[in-house]
Symmetry: C4
Subunit: 215 residues, 4 copies
């Protein structure tokens, strides 16, 4: 490990907990901004300021880490998801997922089973994915004529029904943006079904192998 790499790891470990806390504050402010449409003007301005500030902090953190990286091209490619999370509003809640990686507690787990880590990440991913797409679809649909997704409760329910590929059709997006986000959610759902199945396949294969070995 070069000196630069060492400094970057130190930076990431030191900033991990504050950045996770900031991510949670960010998600809370962002949610209030989308869900509560009857906020007084001052509160809206204050919320907007907090969101902009946290966003700037994340952008600065990304640049610092890029600056500390030895091989900038490699770093850029391997943290593309961070960049997308910083730039695209819909994916901002994923900043939380990206930051969790750097908490020493989650790093320490790297010695344990790949399967458990995959399940924890998949579960966190499902929660954040459903939450952030439900927020974004609500913002896109609420005003549209003929829309059926009108409250945040509706939106979360619709997102769960869609992600598990059940698709009742009691609520359906009608705007182009809402439908585009819905397609993202559907393909995410297919991937999640795949991860669930793969974990069970892997567990079953191991159980059978171990039982055979015991005999």
């Amino acid at each position: 490990m070069t000196n630069d790499e060492h400094r970057r790891t130190t930076w990431e470990t030191a900033t991990s907990v504050p950045l996770v806390v900031l991510s949670l504050v960010f998600i809370a402010c962002y949610s209030v901004q989308v869900i509560d449409t009857e906020l007084p003007g001052e509160a809206q301005i204050a919320l907007g300021a907090v969101i902009a500030l946290i966003w700037a902090t994340f952008a600065a953190d990304y640049l610092v880490r890029l600056g500390l990286a030895h091989d900038k091209g490699l770093y850029f490619r391997s943290t593309l998801l961070d960049l997308v999370s910083v730039l695209v509003p819909v994916f901002r809640p994923f900043l939380l997922l990206n930051r969790l990686r750097d908490i020493p507690f989650f790093r320490r787990r790297s010695g344990s089973s790949v399967r458990i880590r995959l399940l924890i990440h998949a579960a966190l991913f499902v929660v954040l994915f459903v939450y952030s797409l439900a927020l974004a679809v609500l913002a896109a649909e609420r005003g549209a004529p003929g829309a059926s997704i009108l409250s945040f409760g509706d939106s979360i329910w619709w997102a769960c029904v869609t992600m598990t590929t059940v698709g009742y059709g009691d609520m359906v997006p009608v705007t182009v943006l809402g439908r585009t986000l819905a397609v993202v959610l559907m393909f995410g759902g297919v991937a999640i079904v795949g991860v669930a199945t793969a974990t069970i396949v892997s567990y079953l294969t191991e159980s059978i192998g171990r039982q055979r070995h015991d005999r």
Copy 2:
């Protein structure tokens, strides 16, 4: 095996058949209580008493087993599902699944294929899962304005349509509790699809391996 462990195993084997019978009585009483809304007052009181008594028996059994366990922390963690089944009404039918494990007949099977046991457990799980969530959703939805799940037949049909991720949308929960239970059912459905697929993957891998070996 320590002396304590031995006494616990003796206790679990001795109580297994009576507790399975009690579980069945419990499921029957619980079902009648939810489904038949026009029971006379005395019958309702009698049913409630039977249910409370059986519930107390299960709680006592859990405490006895916890008392007999050598490593109480480990026992607590490894029987978390039992505790949840005792505490949360929706999951009480699963007490049956938990008790089946202790019947010597099911224990003896442990020498046979992991796959067959997984299939039997998955099938029992599906039946109990659909049954108990259909009951709970019926109780949650029946009185709600605009509800479409009005009888136990409807509820079972809706639960099968949801669990297999078909999702026609002819019946849809409208209350917050009903929808929360529906999301539990959907994720259970994704897991069941995963178990079915994993079993077929494992069977196919073994068939191909055996055929290659034969040549």
Copy 3:
């Protein structure tokens, strides 16, 4: 191979092609009987007679094979699907699938890949499963008040939508029998998705293994 086993194999090989032809005639007659509700009385009687005759032939064939089997208990258990196909009307089209096994052409294939045979059987199973359940659901639903599955075209479309777990909900069974058959179809659909996935998993594992070996 004992003498009895030899005689049973000879019998099965000799009767395989005629029985497959009879199965096809049977499916055709059975379909006409269900689909065409405006047949004149004599035609209905003739159809019923042909169906009864073929059914009797299959029952006789089953008994002959049972009589020729050395270990009757083992034979009974290993041909349970044949017995169910003979006894339950909905599953009669599967008699075709059962008989195909005995055609020498399909036997010869047993040397080739397990995967190809699985795919051929799965495809035949899908076609027969969708066809026979569509027929049975049509017979169950047609007369019911509020039914949406009214013609054989509707029924086939509904069965495909259900089996692939898409579940639009434009057509939905409303009778108890129709819904019970639909649940059978749904679980069949879950199994088919599992078979498709397992085949791809197996193919991919082999491709990667072969490529690694080549290097």
Copy 4:
């Protein structure tokens, strides 16, 4: 490699880029023809001529390659998908997928992971499959009484909802041709879910194996 094989490979490499460009022009013209129903007569004739010309080029290319192949029977069997793409209008956009194989860039990748190539092909397949079936279903449904798929946007949305097996039911094909194409799309969707799952299974198996090896 025989001399003939060498000449065929040279031909395929030389024609790959022009044919991919032609495929893109073809898809564009074909799309305009289906989507824009208010084209003036001359434009329609021009479009039709371009489409016919490109089609003839593809047919000629197929015949040249067949002529250059050493073992014509083998070549015919192994390029059956090319022939279907040339003959059946719905599958013509797949000509693009078939031609991509011959671009040296995609050939060079053959040394890298089987999984990455599978994912790239699956993603391209999904895009072309959804696109071409959406086009074909739109053409089949647009004029039908009671149809709900009326614009290309509707059609793409419906195809995504169907392929991921979500199936809201807000739009449903009502013509026989539309429903037949929908069934093709559904089974394609089941295959895609299978490919996604298989890729994750394979990745997970490898990760666990590597981690175990590292210890």
